[in-house]
Amino acid sequence: MKPMFLPKVENHDAADPHATMFRQMRSAGVPIPQILHLFAFKPERTQHLSLFTQGVMRGPSPLPPWQRELIAAFTSKLNQCLF
């Protein structure tokens, strides 16, 4: 995996729960998805983003979760982003 553009964000010493998660992934031989470094860098604000995302993608809605996933995938595709 290529290093991120912001090494201080990528190598930041994460606090829990991210620290534990990272440690366990490393010991399991699972590469850490880099987006988690974005979440771990300023958790006091990204926790709200996590909750917001959870609500947007899984909360009650006339659109079933699979359809919201498809909208997300379609959006990313249009943005030429493989994520």
Binding site: L6, T20, Q24, P33, I35, L36, S76, L78, C81, L82
Partner: protein
């Protein structure tokens, strides 16, 4: 469908929704009342449209966020925003990482454990990451 909206084998109702999403991504400043009227006429409620618009907007944010910070794309993780799900599931994903570590260990020791862990990874719904 992701490649060619106009010829994708989906319902007209769905096609209308995805065409709206496409307009949001490509030319959102030109969206007007008429675009929403078209979507409503196709059968989408205001709540459904609100939710669809929010999903699209959120992922535009994520796409920008990871592009500009150089987060490498992870094709094997698929489109299920897996990295993100790890983040949102918090402790649940820690448990999974722990059990992945455990099954990786038992994989090395004996066969039955392998079958068990393979089944587990299918049911967890998380696409397996490739090399």
């Amino acid at each position: 469908m992701l490649n060619d909206l106009d010829s994708a084998p989906i319902s007209e109702k769905d096609r209308t929704l995805y065409a709206f999403i496409r307009k949001m991504v490509r030319q959102s400043t030109s969206i007007g009342h008429e675009d929403l009227d078209v979507a409503r006429k196709a059968g989408w409620s205001d709540e459904a449209l609100y939710d669809a618009i929010t999903v699209c907007s959120l992922f535009q944010f994520y796409n920008n966020w990871i592009d500009a910070t150089g987060v490498a794309d992870m094709p094997a993780l698929g489109y299920e925003m897996s990295g993100h799900r790890l983040a949102t599931e918090g402790y649940a994903s820690e448990r999974r990482a722990a059990s992945a570590a455990k099954s990786a260990r038992s994989k090395r020791s004996k066969k039955p454990a392998r079958a068990k862990s393979a089944k587990k990874s299918t049911t967890s719904g998380r696409p397996k990451r490739s090399k």
